[in-house]
């Protein structure tokens, strides 16, 4: 076997690949250390809980988005879906007393939105960037119409408990549901046929087709998952806030895309993993939380965030694997 290992060693995985794997973690640790040094309130227990609450919704949206990015497409409508779902939930709870039934309703909203995206992309053959840019507008418009442009406030003890209660120890419920769901979709991504097919479709669609995989079905599934997760995220978001506002979910789109890329899933598809979303989400959440704790001005925060995202993506994006880094 010596000649085999010789032959193989000449093609061994370069050290840079291993570096790529650990860079997001290193980044995360670096941030934690820096923020902690500046203000040790960062390390406090209440702050840790805060961090969990703040990142819960983003984690759901980012994991869902990961499905679409793995196949090499993108979903820009995720923020709008979150908003739409939040408004629907608020209306159902406030006006129709739906209570917990608003959760399946939110999921349905998300799935339908995902189906619309899939329809335009797969049957309409519109590139996903443009299709979801369009549906972003459509979903936002629908939100405006049904919400009338007002904030929708509601009071529901069940939803209140779902968001703010503590089922297990000190962990805020919202973080708990988020982690459980994240675990489920990560398992789907890592251990099911559908999950494996995502990589094949994203990494080599022709190869996938020629291997007998139903590529259209896989792609549709990805958009449905993204929509579904955004729908559920909307539910959690509004449960936590108690009020649905018109632009609630907007900021989540950019944060989610950044989280996915920082986590190591390439925008060109076929590389990374659903489970990777959590690293990216933590990086972003820690950054927001940390900057708040040390008292940085809000607008300065957005500048710093943008800069760190660029740096993080530049370092972690494995260009050798992306064929088009335009």
């Amino acid at each position: 076997m010596t000649s085999a290992s010789q032959e193989l060693s000449r093609r061994a995985m370069p050290r840079s690949d291993l570096l790529m794997l650990f860079l997001p973690l290193i980044l995360l640790l670096a941030q934690i250390v820096v923020f902690g040094l500046i203000n040790d309130r960062f390390f406090s227990f209440p702050n840790a809980l805060n961090l969990m609450r703040q990142s819960a919704v983003l984690l759901l949206v980012a994991s869902g988005l990961n499905f679409v990015i793995l196949i090499g497409s993108i979903d820009l409508s995720i923020g709008a879906i979150v908003t739409l779902s939040a408004i629907v939930v608020a209306l159902l709870v406030r006006d129709l007393g739906f209570g917990l039934w608003s959760l399946p309703a939110a999921a349905l909203v998300g799935l339908t939105a995902g189906a619309v995206n899939a329809f335009f992309n797969l049957i309409g053959r519109v590139p996903s960037f443009l299709a979801t840019l369009g549906t972003m507008g459509i979903f936002t418009g629908i939100s405006n119409i049904i919400g009338g442009g007002f904030n929708i406030h509601f009071e529901d003890p069940v939803l209140g408990w779902i968001a703010a209660g503590r089922l297990i120890g000190p962990i805020p419920n919202v973080a708990l549901w988020s982690l459980i769901l994240f675990g489920v979709v990560s398992a789907i991504g890592a251990r099911t046929l559908f999950g494996r097919y995502l990589y094949a479709v994203g990494g080599g669609e022709t190869v996938a087709t020629l291997s007998g995989i139903r590529v259209q079905a896989v792609k549709a599934g990805a958009f449905l998952m993204s929509g579904l997760m955004s729908g559920v995220a909307g539910f959690l978001l509004v449960a936590r806030a108690g009020t649905a506002t018109q632009r609630m979910g907007d900021s989540l789109m950019l944060d989610a895309i950044a989280a996915v890329v920082i986590g190591g899933t390439a925008l060109s598809g076929g590389v990374g993993g659903i489970h990777r979303a959590i690293i990216g989400v933590l990086v972003i959440a820690v950054m927001s939380n940390g900057l708040n704790v040390i008292g940085v001005d809000f607008f300065l925060q957005t500048i710093i965030k943008g800069a760190i995202v660029i740096v993080a993506v530049a370092l972690t994006l494995d260009r050798s694997k992306s064929e088009f880094v335009k």
């Binding site: 193989l8 093609r11 099911t192 990589y199 076929g270």
Partner: protein, 535 residues
Amino acid sequence: MSSVTMTGEGHVAARSPTSAFAMAKTPRLVVEGVGKAYGGVPVLKSVSLEVRPCEILGIAGENGAGKSTMLRIISGIVRPDSGTLRLDGNPFAPIGYAAAVRSGISMVFQEQALVPNIAVYENLFLAHEKAFRNRFGIVDRNAAIAAAARALDDLGLGHINPRRQLREFGFEDRQMIEIARAFALASLYRIAEPIILLDEPTAAIAGKEVEALFNRVEAFRGRGSFVLVTHRLSEYLRLCDRVYVFKDGENIDEVGRDRMNEERLHELMVGRVRSTHYYKEDRQRPVAEEATLAVEVRNLSGRGVKEVSFVLNRGEVLGIGGLLGCGKEDVGQAIAGAVPFPEGGEVFVNGSALPVKRRIEAAIAAGLGYVPRERKAEGLVPYLPLRWNASLAMLTRLRRFGLPWIDRSSEIEHVRKEMTRLRIKAADPMQLCVYLSGGNQQKVVLAKWLMRSPAVLILQNPTRGIDVGTKEEIYSLIRDLSEAGVAILLISDDLPELIGISSRILLMREGTIVREYAAPADRKPSEDELIRHMV
């Protein structure tokens, strides 16, 4: 073929009386102690060689031996980690390919380095437009077009209009344009004696184009030097004055023309003697009288083919040959259902009629495996691990409890067995396929289908760009499969391979089958006979 006598070292004087360099007898390019490593893994280890005036030099070696890397260093694309190069006595360390071109070294790339959405003449002189600037600094297009037309004409490519966009031309024409570029650039800089590097120039062309290229190379002999890298050993014999043999990153031998034959080259490259039955004809099964039908094609028509009908029996190896555009690839695609394919007519695999819509899924379900022509674009996903690529077509059989949950241990076991059977050399089955050699990659593609125990296997150019050692293994595998009753359809541009492996051969020309040959082990048709009907 030019009849120049070879006298070993001092042959130059006999060749070209007008070559100034030839008179001087000094080598054109001297490479000394060059080493190159990628990611800590040495690809070239202290290699020395020289390129002499007016010669055609070959560099032979298995995949991974370092031949392409050597060419890239000579052409300035890659910088060596150690060692020196001297061109005509002066130190030569080009910064980039353009610098090498201006110094007189140009290269024909294996994977076409052409831009599809610009014109042919723009492609030919890409990055060298400055040479056509007039006194106002504006590029004189007409001069460039004229120069392009001349270069194309010289190579027998007068039918290619240099003004047209590159993507309007088919694969083989583009390959010839790639070749023309090296010559065009050499003329552009009025390099009296260019050195042209040929990196597997015939890997994707056949017949007429190969002849045209070789004629051009031989015609150029008195006016420059060539360095040829190819996987077809016969080409070294045909063209080269000397051949260096590379093995594991070292230059292990220099073989002069007088000592050159295929067996010797094979032996040096692989380190063992080539078996006399390279194509394992002794294991070829005779075409049985009452054979069971595996594939039936009736009146296949449409894209590229006209009324093609034939049958393929179990345990048989049916070869289909023909020149560019004959439609043989379309036939393979039609049976497998690889879009786009000719849709007219009927195709039956194992008795089931295949639908037009979603044919590939139906074909696979009926027991077919399809090994496509371009392994990196169609056969496997390069940035996925070996194990995932190997199991890609049979994941549905690896379900746990009937749910779409992948049974990992079963997957690992199946892949391990297949890796052992095919002798796929990889220390870690989770290694990304992009890091495997061409031969191993092709084995992974084969493994993908073999794991399903197919009844029919379609192979499109299965040994393209693969070293001889692995080729032999694939031929053995084909014999193993035949013995087990698998029906094999071999569509290949490699004529000796087609003849040696097939028990029956169909020749196609312009979309129809023009001849059928029986090719029993003891009475194989000759290449010439086949070529006569192919053109």
